[in-house]
C-alpha cells in the first residue's frame, strides 16, 4: 500500500511540470491601475474561456529588453503594450509580427470589418489598437495655496504667480513640449506645425519660466502612479499625468483631486506581437480576444481609457453606468473618457511620426534643458 502511494506521488511529481508548461502567454504592460484593468477586463475572461494562462509583466516602456530578447533568441515576452512611436521603431527593426489586419482581427459586433471599426489607421503594420488615453493635468483641491479659485486652463498650469506651488512634469520631452506651446497660445490642432519651426525652443523657454520661477518649480515623474502620489503628499500642487491614473485616484481611492482637460493630449496605445516567440500562435489567439469589441469594452469597466473600437463604445453606452468601482460602485464612464465632447474643446492629437523622425534632436534639447535648470 505504502509502495503504491510512493509510486503515485512520484507519478504526480513527474506529471506536474508538463502540466505547468501547458499553454501560457506573457503580456507586458505598464503596471498599476492600468494593467489591473487589462487583467480584469480581458486577461482573466480569456484565461477562463480558453484555458491558456495569461501572465502579466510590468515594464516602464522602451524596446531595449525585447530587442535583447530577440537578438539573443531567448524570447519570453509575447505581447507588449507600447506607444505608437515604439510600434514604428520596433516594426522597422523587425522585432514584431506584421499583421494582415482584416484577416487577423475579427469584425466588430456591429458588423464593421476591423480596419473600419478601429477609430484611426494603425501607425505601422505591426500595431493593433488598444485604447485612447489622455495626458492632462490634475490638482490637489485641498492644497492651501488655492484660495477659493482653481485652475481651469493650460495657461493656469504655467502661471505660478496666480497659483504658486511646485509642478510635476513627465521626465521626458513627450507631452511637456505640447503643453508649453498650448499654454503659450498655440491652438491644440496646430502644435506640431509650430514644432517644425522653432517650437522646441519656444516650448523650452516657456518651461524655463515656470521651473525657474521662485513661486513655481518643477519635479519630474517617470511612473504613471507617481503624479497622484505627489499631489496627495503635497510634493506638487499640480501634476501632468495619464487621465486613467488620475481618475483611479479620484474614484477608487477618494483622493481630493480634480482633472483639467484644456490642452489635453490625446494619444493612442497599441499592442504588438513579438516575432519568433515560443507561444506566438497562442499569443495571436489571445490578442484577437483582447482587441475584440467585448474585450476592449471590458477594460473600460475598470479604467477611464476609451476603447479603440467604435463598436466597444456602443456596448458601453448601451449599458451605462459601465464603470465598476470597488469603492464607489457603478459610475457612468462616458463623461470621463478623454473623447467626451466636454473634454475635447481644445486638445492636441499626439504625432508619433514627428517623435520617431526627430527623436535625437528632441531628446538632446530636452536633456540639455533639464541639466541646466
Amino acid at each position: 500500500m505504502l509502495r503504491l502511494t510512493k509510486i503515485m506521488s512520484l507519478a504526480a511529481l513527474l506529471a506536474a511540470p508538463t502540466m505547468a508548461t501547458a499553454a501560457e502567454v506573457n503580456v507586458v504592460s505598464w503596471g498599476g491601475a492600468y494593467t489591473e484593468s487589462q487583467k480584469l477586463g480581458y486577461g482573466d475572461p480569456y484565461q477562463e474561456k480558453s484555458g491558456v494562462q495569461v501572465n502579466w509583466i510590468d515594464y516602464s516602456g522602451g524596446l531595449s529588453e525585447v530587442k535583447a530578447q530577440v537578438e539573443s533568441g531567448a524570447i519570453t515576452w509575447d505581447i507588449i503594450d507600447v506607444y505608437a512611436r515604439d510600434t514604428i521603431i520596433g516594426c522597422d527593426e523587425g522585432l514584431f509580427v506584421e499583421f494582415d489586419f482584416d484577416n487577423d482581427f475579427p469584425a466588430g459586433v456591429n458588423g464593421m470589418k476591423a480596419s473600419d471599426d478601429f477609430f484611426a489607421p494603425m501607425p505601422s503594420d505591426c500595431a493593433v489598437g488598444n485604447i485612447l488615453y489622455s495626458w492632462n493635468y490634475a490638482y490637489n483641491t485641498d492644497n492651501i495655496n488655492f484660495d477659493g479659485s482653481y485652475p481651469d486652463s493650460m495657461e493656469d498650469f504655467f502661471n505660478p504667480s496666480k497659483y504658486p506651488g511646485v509642478r510635476s512634469l513627465y521626465s521626458s520631452a513627450m507631452s511637456n513640449l505640447e503643453f508649453a506651446l498650448v499654454a503659450d497660445g498655440v491652438p491644440g490642432a496646430d502644435v506640431y506645425d509650430y514644432m517644425e519651426e522653432n517650437g522646441i525652443d519656444r516650448a523650452l523657454d516657456k518651461l524655463s519660466e515656470l521651473c525657474n520661477d521662485p513661486n513655481g518649480g518643477c519635479i519630474f515623474w517617470s511612473a504613471g502612479a507617481q503624479p497622484p502620489e505627489q499631489l496627495v503628499s503635497g510634493e506638487a500642487i499640480m501634476a501632468t499625468g495619464w487621465n486613467g491614473r488620475h481618475f483611479n485616484a479620484i474614484v477608487n481611492e477618494g483622493s481630493p483631486m480634480k482633472m483639467v482637460w484644456d490642452g489635453q493630449i490625446l494619444d493612442y496605445e497599441y499592442f504588438v506581437l513579438v516575432k519568433g516567440g515560443p507561444n506566438q500562435a497562442e499569443a495571436m489567439e489571445a490578442l484577437k480576444y483582447f482587441t475584440s469589441s467585448e474585450g476592449l469594452a471590458g477594460s473600460a469597466k475598470h479604467i477611464a481609457y476609451a476603447p479603440f473600437r467604435i463598436s466597444s463604445l456602443d456596448i458601453i453606452m448601451a449599458d451605462e453606468p459601465w464603470f465598476n468601482s470597488p469603492q464607489a460602485g457603478a459610475v457612468e464612464i462616458m463623461p470621463h473618457m478623454p473623447t467626451a465632447p466636454a473634454n475635447t474643446k481644445n486638445y492636441v492629437l499626439m504625432n508619433p511620426e514627428w517623435y520617431a523622425d526627430n527623436n535625437t534632436d528632441i531628446n538632446d534639447a530636452w536633456e540639455a534643458w533639464k541639466a541646466n535648470l
Binding site: 514604428i88 521603431i89 516594426c91 523622425d357 526627430n358
Partner: protein, 415 residues
C-alpha cells in the same frame, strides 16, 4: 667552485626545486581555471563585443554596399549623379522586398533627423518609379527632402563600415558634412555637463562617506567584540535591503511632507511654510547615495584600524605628543591604506550609479549613466551608448592607474 647539491634520487636540487614549483603553479592555475574561464567568457568577451558596437557599422555597409561604392567617386559638392541615385534605387528596392528598409531608416535617422519618414515614404512609392526616367527628380517628387544635399551626404557617411563619430558626440562635438569638427549648438550640449556632474557627485559622495565612516570605523575597532558586532550589523544592514527599498525609504523620510520635515515642524525648528527642500535636488542625491555606499568605506577602514596596536598612540602621548598630534602623526598615516581602498571603491561605484539619483535627484539627478541607459533602452542607439560606456570604462581605469601611481595597488587593504 661550489659543490653541486643533489637530492636523494640524484637529481640537481635546483632542477628538482623548479619542478616542484612548476607543479604547484599548475595546481594553482587549475584551481583558478573555472573562475578564469567564467570571467573571460561571461565578462571580458561580451564587454569587448559590446564595445565594438561603438565603431561598428558593418551591417549598414552590407545593406547598401553598391550605393556606398558608387558614392566613393562623388565628392559631395553638388547633387549626386544618376549612377548613384539609380544604384540606390535598385538597392532600396531589394531591401524593401526583404523588409530590411526599416532597419536602415532607424540607423540613418541617427545621422540626420527625418530619415525615418523619408525612407518609409520613399519605400511605399518605389513601385511608381519610371526606371527610364531621371531618378533624382523622381526621388525629389516623392519627398522634397531628397533635394537637400545633406540627406545624400548623410547616406554616404552613414554607410561607412566603421566610424568614430559617436565618440565625438560623447563629448558634445559633431562632424559637419564638410568634414570639420565643431562643438554642437549650445542648446543641445548635454554630455559634458553630465560628465562633470557625475565626477562631482562621485567625488562628493566619496568625501561624505569618508567623513562619516572614519569615526564609526574607529569606534568599531576599539569597542569590545560584543558591542562592535552589534554595531557592525547596523552598518551592514543596508547591504541586506534592496536598493529600491532603501531609496524609497529615503523618499518617505526626506520629502516635504515627510517624516524629517514633520518632526522639525512639530519641534518648532522650521516653520510650516519653510519646510526644507531635502529631495529632488543635490542634497537628496548626496544623502541617499552616501548612506547606500557607506559600508564600502567602513569595511576597509575598519579592517585597517583593527590592526593598529593601541600601544602606539599611548607611546606617542607618553612621549609628550598632544592627542591631536599623536592622531595626526601616528594614527592617521597608518590608516592611509584603508582610506584609499575605501575611496576607490566608493568612487568607482558611485560613478556608475543612476537609479538612486534619478529617483531622489529631480532635474539635477541625471548622471552620465542615465544617458547610457536612455540610449540603451529608449533611443536604441546602442553604438552611442557603448561609446559612452567605453569612455566611462577608460575613466575608471585612469582612476585606478592614478591610484596605483600614488598609493601602489599592493597597499590596498579591502578587509
Amino acid at each position: 667552485m661550489s659543490a653541486e647539491i643533489r637530492t636523494s634520487d640524484g637529481e640537481l636540487l635546483s632542477v628538482k626545486l623548479r619542478k616542484v614549483e612548476r607543479r604547484r603553479r599548475a595546481t594553482a592555475f587549475l584551481l583558478a581555471a573555472p573562475l578564469l574561464f567564467f570571467i573571460v567568457f561571461a565578462y571580458v568577451i561580451p564587454i569587448f563585443q559590446m564595445l565594438g558596437r561603438s565603431v561598428d557599422n558593418v551591417q549598414m555597409n552590407e545593406f547598401l554596399s553598391n550605393t556606398h561604392e558608387a558614392m566613393q567617386s562623388w565628392d559631395g559638392s553638388e547633387m549626386p549623379g544618376e549612377d548613384v541615385t539609380s544604384t540606390f534605387f535598385y538597392e532600396l528596392k531589394g531591401l524593401v522586398e526583404e523588409k530590411n528598409h526599416g532597419k536602415i531608416a532607424t540607423r540613418l535617422n541617427y545621422e540626420k533627423g527625418g530619415f525615418t519618414s523619408l525612407i518609409k515614404k520613399t519605400s511605399r512609392k518605389l513601385k511608381d518609379f519610371d526606371e527610364n526616367g531621371n531618378f533624382l527628380d523622381q526621388f525629389i517628387d516623392v519627398h522634397k527632402k531628397w533635394g537637400d544635399i545633406e540627406y545624400w551626404l548623410a547616406l554616404k557617411r552613414g554607410t561607412d563600415a566603421y566610424h568614430y563619430r559617436k565618440y565625438l558626440t560623447t563629448f558634445d562635438y559633431e562632424q559637419k558634412f564638410d568634414g570639420s569638427i565643431e562643438r554642437i549648438p549650445e542648446k543641445k550640449r548635454i554630455n559634458v555637463t553630465l560628465w562633470l556632474r557625475t565626477i562631482f557627485v562621485a567625488a562628493g559622495v566619496t568625501f561624505c562617506c569618508f567623513l562619516l565612516a572614519y569615526p564609526i570605523s574607529h569606534l568599531l575597532s576599539v569597542l569590545p567584540t560584543r558591542y562592535s558586532n552589534l554595531l557592525m550589523i547596523c552598518v551592514l544592514l543596508p547591504f541586506w535591503t534592496s536598493l529600491l527599498v532603501r531609496t524609497s525609504s529615503w523618499m518617505v523620510l526626506l520629502q516635504k511632507q515627510g517624516v524629517l520635515n514633520d518632526t522639525l515642524v512639530s519641534l518648532g525648528i522650521v516653520a510650516d511654510e519653510g519646510r526644507l527642500e531635502l529631495m529632488y535636488n543635490m542634497t537628496g542625491t548626496f544623502i541617499a547615495m552616501t548612506q547606500i555606499l557607506l559600508p564600502f568605506m567602513v569595511l576597509p577602514l575598519y579592517s585597517v584600524m583593527k590592526t593598529i596596536p593601541p600601544s602606539l598612540m599611548r607611546a606617542a602621548t607618553s612621549m609628550g605628543a598632544t592627542p591631536f598630534l599623536a592622531f595626526r602623526k601616528i594614527y592617521f598615516p597608518l590608516t592611509y591604506a584603508g582610506i584609499s581602498a575605501g575611496s576607490i571603491l566608493v568612487f568607482v561605484l558611485s560613478i556608475g550609479y543612476y537609479i538612486t539619483p534619478a529617483l531622489v535627484g529631480g532635474a539635477k539627478g541625471t548622471l552620465i549613466s542615465n544617458r547610457i541607459a536612455y540610449h540603451m533602452q529608449q533611443s536604441l542607439d546602442w553604438s552611442l551608448a557603448t561609446a559612452m560606456a567605453a569612455v566611462l570604462l577608460v575613466a575608471v581605469l585612469i582612476v585606478y592607474w592614478l591610484y596605483n601611481k600614488i598609493v601602489g595597488i599592493d597597499n590596498m587593504r579591502l578587509g
